[in-house]
């Protein structure tokens, strides 16, 4: 029997993976071939999706991007034994895109059957939790702190400090909450890990719950990810069946349950306090801090709230030790960053690498430049609240501090590439428009500032008092940045200010046109 892998990943499905899997099964039956199709996560080479992998004695051989119309020719070419075909990319692990990465968080993603507890365990799964049970809660917090892991959601706050704060709260009801409201355009790492290796997130939550003394965990997932909802719910059930969730887990005396909750299309619910409000069943209105969620979180109880990637990295840190993780990366940016390469690129996908790689290398070499074939003009790093970075800054290393020094941010690690047809004053306007649509309305700079921002940029774009209105826009950005309650209003000026700074000519087009 030949084992085939066809991803269940939402991006693969969007490119026809479900129909492909059905067609392959049908063709195999018609030809009398016995095969087993495993629906795995994606390897992250998204331009090759749907990617079929065939297990052979030499390794797993990939064929992609495969369409239903290619199925007959793949069988004709003997792909079940790794035969030559124009879609054959060779051994997947040897592909240059894979070879160049350092997969830590994503080490199992695309490799294993995401819903097989046995395979997860065979690939070092639950070793981190077992070690946690051996060393005890205090040592776990210590280990996570020493690893230097910083929240991968965007703010980059040290994870260990959060955990310690909750662990130090008096015993009683506490919660673990995972922020899976991955709303930033150009990001999909949370989605991929939850589809490709959901048990790693569950294990991370277990370790966290054990360390801080919580017995209940919630995952707040955005509604735009219907495939994740199905896969993750199934993973919770598998973990329960195998005794990795529930009461007295593996005889440790530790009880823990995980519940999946679905958001409802509000971007601001990716902000942690807004997310907690939403989980409680209220409007997703941002809370003023302090008190921190670590002290007064979900239902007023001490709560650890972490991003999916931070939590999914914990098992590896506990398994291999803090030092192993801390030895990767540069400066205060330790470990690896799963970069998400997106937008107008030839090779888009998930690329996990140590911190420190220059932005230009990622865009030009790894992503292969633009899909349109036109020159790159700008890269938005860190989602809708991230800055537009021009080609002149392409030597900037991927590193929290280096980006901050250039008034930019890494955020959740999404890169959206634009070619030279982009109108940066339009993108700046869109940044403000998006903030206006998604503002929770609690603070004035964000609620009103974003709408005034759209109006002011419209005036600039139509050539009215351009200089005065640009000054006004800069002033408005300043007010939003320093006067907003949370990162939505506070960071919305990043794309606007960076567009103004690096692409001023795009704001003067109408004035130039009028002069001609």
């Amino acid at each position: 029997m030949v084992k085939l892998y066809i991803p269940l990943d939402m991006a693969a499905v969007a490119m026809g993976a479900n129909k492909l899997a059905a067609a392959v099964a049908q063709e195999a039956a018609a030809r009398g071939e016995t095969i087993e199709i495993v629906r795995n996560g994606s390897r992250g080479m998204l331009w090759l999706e749907p990617l079929i992998e065939v297990e052979t004695p030499a390794g797993r051989i990939g064929y992609g991007p495969a369409k239903v119309k290619d199925v007959a020719s793949l069988f004709d070419a003997g792909f079940l034994s790794g035969g030559a075909h124009r879609l054959n990319i060779g051994i997947v692990d040897d592909h240059p895109w894979m070879k160049r990465q350092n997969r830590v968080t994503f080490v199992r993603c695309g490799v294993i059957d995401p819903l097989s507890v046995a395979e997860y365990e065979a690939h070092d799964g639950f070793k981190g939790l077992k070690r946690a049970f051996e060393v005890g809660p205090a040592a776990v917090v210590e280990e996570v702190t020493k690893s230097g892991l910083r929240g991968r959601g965007g703010a980059g706050f040290p994870t260990g400090i959060k955990w310690k704060t909750v662990a130090d709260c008096p015993p009683g009801k506490k919660y673990v909450v995972v922020n899976a409201d991955e709303g930033d355009s150009g990001t999909f790492a949370d989605r991929m890990i939850m589809e490709g290796d959901p048990l790693s997130l569950i294990e991370g939550m277990l370790i966290c719950g054990y360390a801080v003394g919580a017995s209940k965990g919630y995952v707040y997932l955005r509604s735009e990810y219907p495939v994740v909802a199905k896969v993750f719910q199934a993973a919770i059930e598998k973990a329960l069946e195998a005794g990795w969730l529930g009461a007295n887990i593996k005889g440790s005396g530790f009880d823990f349950d995980v519940e999946l909750r679905i958001g409802a299309g509000a971007y601001v619910c990716g902000e942690e306090t807004s997310l907690l409000e939403s989980l409680e069943g209220k409007r997703g209105i941002v809370r003023a801090k302090p008190p921190l969620p670590a002290h007064v979180g979900l239902f007023g109880k001490p709560t650890v709230i972490n991003n999916v990637l931070s939590m999914a990295t914990i098992p590896m840190i506990m398994e291999k030790g803090a030092k192993h993780y801390a030895d990767l990366g540069v400066g205060r940016s330790r470990g690896t960053m799963p970069l998400q390469i997106a937008g107008n690129v030839k090779y888009g996908g998930l690329f996990e690498t140590d911190f420190g790689i220059p932005l230009g290398v990622v865009v030009n070499e790894i992503a292969g430049g633009t899909r349109s074939g036109r020159p790159v003009r700008a890269v938005q790093v860190g989602g809708p609240l991230g800055a537009y970075v021009p080609v002149s800054l392409f030597d900037l290393p991927i590193d929290y501090e280096a980006f901050a020094a250039k008034d930019s941010l890494i955020g959740h690690g999404g890169l959206v590439v634009f070619d030279d047809t982009v109108d940066m004053s339009w993108m700046a306007r869109f940044g403000m428009e998006f903030c206006a649509i998604e503002s929770c309305g609690k603070c004035t700079p964000c609620r009103l500032g974003s709408t005034r921002g759209v109006e002011t940029i419209d005036k600039i774009r139509s050539g009215q008092n351009v200089d005065a209105n640009i000054d006004l826009l800069k002033d408005l950005c300043h007010t939003m940045r320093f006067g907003s309650l949370c990162a939505l209003g506070g960071f919305a000026p990043y794309p606007v200010e960076s567009a103004l700074r690096h692409f001023p000519e795009d704001f003067r087009k109408s004035a130039l046109e009028a002069a001609e």
């Binding site: 355009s185 989605r191 219907p226 519940e259 299309g265 409680e280 888009g348 809708p384």
Partner: protein
């Protein structure tokens, strides 16, 4: 939505009761109501407020905060087109506006025959396959004008 059930107070009461054991049950209830009826009817909001022991104004505030919850029945099919940055880098905005123009709709509008509602969505996490869309919950990558027109035709059948 296809197969949406006719509203009944009794069914709404059952759905609400089925979730009352959860901590913070409002969001799961709202999703379940919309799943059942295709939207969140006012009468159900009133029942929720009673069950959760909060004012109707407060309950109304929750329902209206979230983009996903509809206050009235929609088209039989729903197409959500992404207009976030990554999709814009591949020309999604122009393509979507031209499509809306062909259907003589604005964002959020429903075709006169009630077949298709077209809504904006802000990122589906399919950013390496921009432009993307979601049709009745099915993700579509690298969507072009031709595919959009096919969907509009399919919806009418």
């Amino acid at each position: 939505m296809i197969g949406a059930a006719q509203y009944s107070d009794e069914r709404a009461r059952e759905i609400i009761a089925a979730h009352m054991g959860l901590e913070g049950p409002a969001m799961p209830i709202l999703h379940a109501l919309q799943e059942e009826f295709g939207y969140v009817p006012d009468a159900a909001v009133k029942q929720m407020a009673e069950a959760l022991n909060i004012s109707r104004a407060e309950m109304h505030g929750v329902v209206t905060f979230y983009h996903d919850f509809r206050r009235a029945p929609h088209g039989r099919h729903t197409l959500k087109i992404c207009r976030a940055e990554s999709c814009q880098s591949m020309g999604a905005e122009r393509q979507a506006l031209a499509f809306l123009d062909r259907l003589k709709l604005d964002w959020g509008g429903t075709t006169p025959d009630g077949a298709l509602t077209v809504e904006p969505i802000y990122c589906l996490g399919l950013c390496a396959h921009s432009p993307s869309a979601l049709y009745d919950g099915e993700p579509i990558g690298c969507v072009d004008a031709e595919r959009l027109d096919e969907i509009a035709a399919e919806a009418r059948d």
